[in-house]
Structure formats: C-alpha cells, structure tokens
C-alpha cells in the first residue's frame, strides 16, 4: 500500500481522535461481569445407579427438556446423588466421567448374537434375545434338573447353568433376583463384585 507522508499523518490524527473519544466514554457499552449461566436450571433430574463397580453409587442424570411431548431428552450432565446413602454425592473418576460413557460411539446399545463357531456379531432385538435366553434356559433345565439325590431325598438342583446378577442393585431388586434364581433351583449365582 502506498501511503504518502500526508496520508500517514491523517491516519495518525484519526487514530488519536477515535481513541480519545473512546477514552471519554463514547466506547460501545461493556457488559458487567456475570457468571456463566447455571446449565442445569430446568434440566430434568433422574436418579440412577452407577453401572461400574459393586459399590453401586447413586448418580443424578440431568437431561435436556422437561419431558413435554415434543422435547426429545438427552443426557447433558451426570453427578453424584447427595441423597444416596452409599456415596452421598461423591463419585470416583470413572463415575465422574459417566457422561462420556453414555455418549461413547463404542457403547453397545443393542444385544448382539454370534452363532456357535461363527465370526460375525449380528444385532438382534431385546425380544429376540430374551426369548432365546428363556428357551435355552428351559431346554437346559428340562434336561439336567435333579429332583432327588441318590438317597431319594428331594434336592431340586439345577447345576448346569449359572446366573450373573448386578451387585449394584438395590435391596429390593437383589431380593427379587435371588427369589427368581433360587426358585429355578439354580446354584451357581454370583455378581460382578467378585469379577
């Protein structure tokens, strides 16, 4: 750019003039200090249990929207549940990072099936999966159920299938799981607390 000496002086004068005006208070209005808006103000709060270890900490899931008909909810924040007797609001680093676990592209969201000897996993529906599990359990129980032992005493054992339940369940869920499993005669029964 070609600037003559005279033009240079004019630019300087304009600069000094405008900055003086700004200094005299003609500058655009400046926002006063304000903290970041609280992002959970009207988010929906849902209680849940951390899915990781057997401690079973309570978590609060905060989601977008107020559950009205046209609002599609999405989890935006997760933190500890202060009312949960196990953790009283605290969370370990894994629990504190649950949001990224929920939104992970690698998260398994449907049951998958791989045929015996097969190499490919195929997605199946929950109905298909549960029907198949129920059918296989029934077949195995019909075949291997032991009603009495050698002495003729009633034992009602089913030892060929095991059940792995959630250690993070509440007392009530644990009670129900126990009743279902034991009433089938199943003996091998554990949870991920020992995995």
């Amino acid at each position: 750019m070609q600037v003559t000496r005279r033009q240079f002086f004019r630019i300087c004068a304009a600069g000094v003039g405008s900055s003086s005006l700004a200094a005299l208070g003609f500058a655009p209005g400046e926002a006063l200090a304000q903290v970041r808006a609280f992002k959970l103000a009207r988010a929906t709060e849902t209680r849940n249990t951390c899915p990781y270890c057997s401690v079973g900490c309570g978590v609060l899931l905060y989601s977008l929207g107020d559950k009205s008909k046209n609002a599609h909810t999405e989890i935006i924040h997760i933190e500890g549940d202060p009312d949960h007797p196990v953790n009283r609001g605290t969370l370990c680093p894994k629990g504190a990072g649950l949001l990224d676990f929920v939104h992970s592209p690698n998260r398994l969201q449907t049951p998958e099936y791989r045929a015996p000897g097969g190499k490919e996993w195929t997605r199946i529906s929950w109905d298909e999966a549960l029907d198949r599990i129920a059918k296989l359990m029934k077949d195995d129980r019909d075949k291997n159920f032991v009603a009495t032992n050698q002495d003729g005493a009633t034992v009602n054992r089913w030892t060929t299938t095991g059940f792995l339940a959630a250690s993070a369940s509440s007392n009530e869920t644990g009670y129900l799981t126990h009743k279902v499993v034991r009433s089938l005669g199943m003996l091998a029964f554990d949870n991920q607390a020992r995995v």
Partner: protein, 292 residues
Amino acid sequence: MALQSLDIKARSATTTPSPDARANGAIPVAKLIDISKCIGCKACQVACMQWNDLRDEVGNNVGVYDNPMDLTDQSWTVMRFSEVEVQQGKLEWLIRKDGCMHCADPGCLKACPAPGAIVQYSNGIVDFHEEHCIGCGYCLTGCPFNIPRISKKDSKAYKCTLCSDRVAVGMEPACVKTCPTGAIVFGSKVDMIHHAEGRIVDLKERGYSNASLYDPQGVGGTHVMYVLQHADQPELYANLPKDPTISPLVGLWTGIAKPLMSLGIGLAVFAGFFHFVTAGPKEVEEEEEETD
C-alpha cells in the same frame, strides 16, 4: 442487578469503583484441600472437565502418575505427585491438587490490562471473563502460583472458576462434590479454617508436628487453602511457594510505567497540536511530493 453472590469486589484495568453497597452481606467462601486425605484418584480432575465442558487430550504416559503433566486451557486442576523422604528411610507420597488459589489480593487481576477480563466477586472468587480477554498473558506474570494458561485455540486465558456458576446458585464446586475421601471440602472461609484446625490437631497427634494450614498472607490469604503435613516445607509439595507474593514487575507496570506512558502519549498529542497552531502545517514542495 446481580445476585448477592455475584457482587463485584474488583475488576481488572477499571478505575471507577465497582458497586459495593451490598458487598458486606456476602459470605467469603473457601475450598479446603486436606493433602493428608488425598489418594490421588483424580475424580476432581474428571468432575472439573465434566462440569466445565472441557476435554483435554488423552496424552502419553511419561512414567509418573501426573496426567496431564501440567495445567492446560482444558485442565484447570491437576494432581501433582511428589515422592519425598522427609525423614531418612521414610518415603512419603505427597499428592497436591493444583489449581487457582483464588487469592484475596489477586496478582492476575492487578496485572491484567483488559477492562473486566478478570473479576473478583465479594465472596472471594476470582473469575476470568474470556470475552474481554486480549490474550496478553500478563495474568501469568502476575500469578504467584503459575496457574492461568493461554489457549492455543482462541488465545485467551483460562483457569479454575471455583465453579462460580454453581456457587452463585448455592451449590459447591464440582471437584468438592465428587471427592470420595472428603479431602476437598467447601464452605464459608471461617468454617473451613475451623475444619482445618481439627484436622491439624489430628495430624499432630499422629506425629506430624509441623502440620498447619496454608493460607499465605503474602497474597492477602487465599480462598483455596491446604492442610499440609509439613507446612514448614511447602516446597515439598511440587514446589508450592513458601511465601508467595505478587511479582514487583506488576507494581512497576501498573504503578509507574503505565501512567508515565499515558502521560507521554498525551504530551505528544499536545505538543503536536501546539506545533500545528504555532508553526502551521508543514508545506511540502511539489518536487518532494512527486518523488514519494
């Protein structure tokens, strides 16, 4: 009008006083970090990123537990692990949660030349307002704890806000809430000092005769305080300064250099104007004009 907890005590590069008629009502808050209870799990680091919508790079293992190795624009708090032998043959693993100390006399705010980019609320929180930040990095010079970091992405300074948005609505900071061992606690500064006294009595009974509260008066006290087992040697804790003070360069810049410079600019304009009035515009000869 701002909420009580948002009341402003000081703003950077602002000469007009902040409205503070109601400031007496605000209760100074503080975060107390009890180093003797910290297990270095880094839940606070994760909770901080989660709340403040930050995600740092995954990084590489460099052979120590520190991860990331330093504060960044995405990591406003990091655990610093120090292996020290205070007594011969007695290894101690001191884990300090590093981050902004929220000084009562903030060096960053004093050094900052951008109006309103750094604000101190009457509850003691020192907050950066990145929309006013010019990315000069003076806050780093002013900080006695080497905390602010300039983002490579947007060239603005970032640091811990003490979750000013949570505190403003009556909640505790995210790191405090998540801490599984209760090493981080939050409340009024008076209560935190009281809490620390109890911890210090306990530590002294366990043989840490130098246990004490770290609330350095060189920066007017801080709103993030530590309980140290070896308060006589704070350097053991990843070089925590023993007596932090604001760099004299800050006083030189804001107290002397800046007013002198402003005066110089004004004088130059005045001199130019009077020269123009008395001597008139400089006449440029036709030949000279053409050669330009």
